[in-house]
């Protein structure tokens, strides 16, 4: 059942037919997909959803595609982990990790948004898809395009680390390295998106792309036993994920799938790129663009397109925003790994680091349910922690040497 009604300007409310466009021609406001939810009355039930395969498309009526997905049919439905050890470490009573560091196929939540964007691109008749990215998005577009038989272009800064180029290049995408300052690279990408007849995932099909993030929220609520948490902490780059998790909760309430739990949404950023967190702390809704300088590269968006809307969600829900230093990011990555066995990328360190700070400051209550959204895998940002882990202790290949080492650790070989 297709309940998509239109694209609607978030600013002036002007509506447009479904098409590959993203900005209101009247006021330049961003366009968002809107739905006729009443069409789902009596149809879209918990039982229906639970009867479907465990992937993000079990909520397909709330994603903006016609019929079945043509790209990324297996994506999503990542684990929601009750983080008992981390609860003790942080002194909170009920903590969960929504673990998109194991999202299929490229180990980040971008697989959700990309599969919606590319499925929609196929519906629109596009043969070529593209993105501008320094990491996760590049890999996800390249991989999902390859699997779907689409041609893809990935635009990157020319000096991007080899490991990140590999993460996209292995899938046979056409990679274009662009010389110049960040703003120049960014502007060129925008111009290319406007000039060529391609589906540029976070430009002309952005309204559809962004909707994919809602699936993380839907899964979180279903996995909690059909309820929303009291608090959810989300990493912020463009701010889109923050707004879409909130939208997912509002939709489930509207459809009667959950009770309104008064969920508060919290945003997390790295101090070196924290324009949204700063706006929340300053009590303003205007976002000052910044030049990003942080190890959390996947969150390094200095001029965030959805910053204003993320700020509004945080304020309206009674949440808060926080930022953490690079050292705090590393410490949090280690804490998550050592307590829960989850190796998150730097963005995960930002999320946990900010949550820890907000718990300590009292912004996040210790005695209510909290979900932390972990959005990418630590294997992609190993350089951030390579100097922070213990080096192996080297011994000769004889048992006596190991016995001495084990004894030093408190183990008795004779026992």
């Amino acid at each position: 059942m297709n309940i998509v009604r239109a694209l609607k300007c978030r600013e002036c409310g002007h509506e447009y037919e479904i098409q590959p466009t993203h900005v209101c021609e009247f006021c330049f406001g961003p366009l968002e997909v809107v739905y006729d939810y009443e069409k789902l009355d009596g149809y879209f039930t918990r039982e229906l959803i639970e009867s479907r395969p465990q992937n993000m498309w079990r909520y397909k009526e709330l994603l903006p595609i016609d019929g079945e997905p043509s790209v990324g049919a297996q994506n999503g439905f990542t684990p929601l982990v009750r983080a008992k050890n981390l609860e003790k470490a942080l002194g909170v009573s009920e903590l969960y990790i929504k673990n998109d560091s194991v999202c299929y196929p490229t180990l980040s939540f971008k697989d959700r948004v990309v599969s919606v964007a590319l499925s929609k691109a196929v519906e629109f008749g596009f043969k070529t898809v593209a993105c501008a990215s320094t990491g996760n998005l590049a890999g996800s577009v390249a991989a999902n395009a390859a699997a779907a038989g689409l041609e893809s272009y990935v635009f990157i800064p020319h000096d991007l680390e080899q490991g990140k180029v590999l993460g996209a290049g292995i899938f046979g995408t056409k990679i274009i390295g662009i010389k110049g300052k960040y703003d120049d690279v960014n502007r060129l990408c925008s111009e290319v998106a406007g000039k060529y007849g391609w589906a540029f995932v976070n430009v002309n099909v952005r309204p559809f792309y962004a909707e994919g993030s809602k699936s993380l929220g839907y899964e979180m609520m279903e996995q909690l036993g059909w309820k929303a948490p009291k608090h959810v902490v989300v990493p912020m780059a463009s701010g889109s994920l923050c707004t879409k998790v909130h939208k997912s909760i509002k939709e489930f309430i509207k459809l009667g799938l959950i009770e309104d739990n008064g969920t508060a949404v919290y945003g997390a950023q790295a101090t070196g790129c924290s324009p949204i967190a700063k706006s929340v702390k300053d009590g303003t809704d205007l976002i000052h663009p910044v030049i990003a300088d942080t190890i959390a590269k996947s969150l390094a968006i200095g001029n965030p397109a959805d910053g204003f809307y993320a700020n509004r969600v945080i304020n309206e829900t009674g949440g808060w925003a926080e930022d953490v230093s690079d050292q705090e990011v590393i410490d949090a990555m280690k804490l998550l790994a050592e307590t829960e066995g989850i190796f998150a990328e730097t963005a995960g360190g930002v999320t946990l680091g900010c949550a820890k700070k907000m718990i300590e400051s009292g912004k996040l209550p210790r005695d209510e349910s909290i979900v932390l959204c972990i959005t990418g895998n630590g294997l992609k940002t190993q350089e951030a922690v390579v100097d922070a882990i213990d080096k192996p202790r080297i011994i000769d290949a004889n048992l006596k040497d190991f016995d001495e080492l084990a004894a030093a650790d408190g183990f008795d070989a004779a026992a």
């Binding site: 990215s133 800064p157 976070n202 001029n303």
Partner: protein
């Protein structure tokens, strides 16, 4: 070329008539589509229409005045 940009003005530039100066300095048609001005900053959605080279020079001039010029998509390079 018809360029669509967001201009961000900071505390130092928010009171200056920069868009008026732009039209004086360059042979471009400016069309404000959205604007919000506060004490410490301003945000303007602007269409700049003219010959390619002139529009390029005009946007460079805006940057030189201390105005942040971004495509209306803002940052499209994602992590």
């Amino acid at each position: 070329m018809k360029l669509r940009v967001y201009l961000t003005f900071d505390e130092a530039t928010v009171r200056e008539p920069i868009i008026w100066k732009l039209a004086k300095e360059f042979d471009v048609v400016t069309n404000i589509r959205t604007a919000e001005v506060k004490d410490h900053m301003g945000l303007v959605g602007l269409e700049i229409d003219g010959d390619d080279a002139v529009v390029e020079a005009a946007t460079q001039w805006l940057s030189d005045q201390g105005v942040t010029v971004a495509p209306i998509e803002q940052d499209v390079i994602e992590g």
